[in-house]
Symmetry: C2
């Protein structure tokens, strides 16, 4: 991100005005061939144009048409491990960025890397979700779209996050457990079934499915792009 | 925050060009009184100006002079209760906003209102500070200046925050304990001395003063504005 310095803005304005006046003078000289008239027109034109620019800006300053307030949202993906949250959310983030919007993708696993001591018991999970929710709240407040992907298995902490954000869009990635377990890209379900991982959502820990999410997606039935289109239509 | 719609930008460009050409025509007519010449100059002027604007923009696009990258910082105020952190940080935030920058002020007490269950034992405090640090990291990453004011009494969590932010400026508000206790605006020191508040920093809990903060301020010796000027010179 860059800002234009005052000096640069002034230099651009002056150079454009100079160029513009020279252009007008060239046109007048082209038609009349009269040096004196050319300079007279150029001189007066300079003054008139600066005044016109000023009034033009003042006038438009009173018109609100065409000014669109940026209202970011927090799109929160919840669902079982392997349901497709990361894939969907990454695609959504990409599509929003392509529209020139500021986007932050908060992924549960990546955030756990910053806080490696975060556990998987109920309290730790609730706190983890709330912590990410707080982040989402402040980013949203500062004009940044937030795409969050966390299992976020408990109703309680999801309600907390909804409460502190402005435009909260809950996306339940509702891929059936059997399908998630069949995919098992990271081999986590196998290890959970073998008892090597404790508190595994869907196996040894409950997943409290959202009752009224803004959007429900079953990745076993719709494609990534179809799902993302559906979400974008709600933003 | 607003963005200008494409339609508004186009409308402004067209209306300005129309106004500009009418201005030129008025000047030519004023000097010559010749209707035909006036329209000929106006017509050609229109074409020439649009071309000139285009080349002018392309040319300036190649010049980097005057483009300043926005590099936000995280200014982190640490110090005893009553040291003046909130006053200093609020003034700093105000001064940064006055420069047209995006600023988020994260105050320890206000954030505890969102997480009312946060305790004052060592672990809770460390986690609270880290949580706010995470917030600061993501806001900074998205172009927002962060001004944080928290007692943040432990070296450990302050080092963690420094590690995850890009431009971390630690301000130790080093007002002596006696002075803080004398002010005691909220009556907290009195209650801590009476044993009504536990784990009170400086009384019944340690304050690990930063060894090498970027800035050290003693509010008993310098005014708020002097201190803020000193901080601004480091940003």
């Amino acid at each position: 991100m860059y800002v234009e310095s005052h000096a640069r803005s002034v230099a651009k304005a002056v150079s454009y005005r100079a160029l513009g006046t020279l252009g007008t003078m060239a046109v007048v000289y082209f038609y009349t061939g009269r040096i004196q008239l050319t300079f007279a027109v150029g001189g007066l034109d300079l003054v008139v144009k600066i005044a016109l620019f000023f009034f033009h800006e003042r006038l438009w300053g009173k018109v609100n048409w065409g000014k669109k307030p940026v209202e970011p949202s927090v799109v929160w993906f919840t669902g079982l491990s392997g349901a497709g949250k990361t894939t969907l959310s990454a695609r959504l983030a990409e599509r929003l960025r392509a529209r020139g919007l500021k986007v932050e993708h908060l992924d549960g696993d990546s955030l756990r890397e910053i806080f490696p001591a975060t556990g998987f018991d109920r309290q730790s999970r609730e706190e983890h979700v709330k912590k990410v929710g707080l982040l989402a709240r402040y980013l949203e407040k500062n004009g940044v779209f937030v795409v969050a992907s966390l299992i976020s298995p408990y109703e309680d902490s999801r309600r907390f996050v909804r409460g502190i954000c402005r435009n909260f869009i809950e996306v339940h990635v509702d891929t059936p457990l059997e399908e998630c377990e069949k995919r098992d890209a990271k081999g986590l379900y196998r290890r959970a079934r073998a008892g090597e991982i404790q508190n595994f959502t869907g196996i040894s820990d409950p997943y409290e499915a959202p009752k009224m999410p803004e959007i429900r997606v079953n990745t076993a039935k719709v494609s990534v792009d179809e799902a993302v289109d559906q979400i974008l239509s709600k933003i």
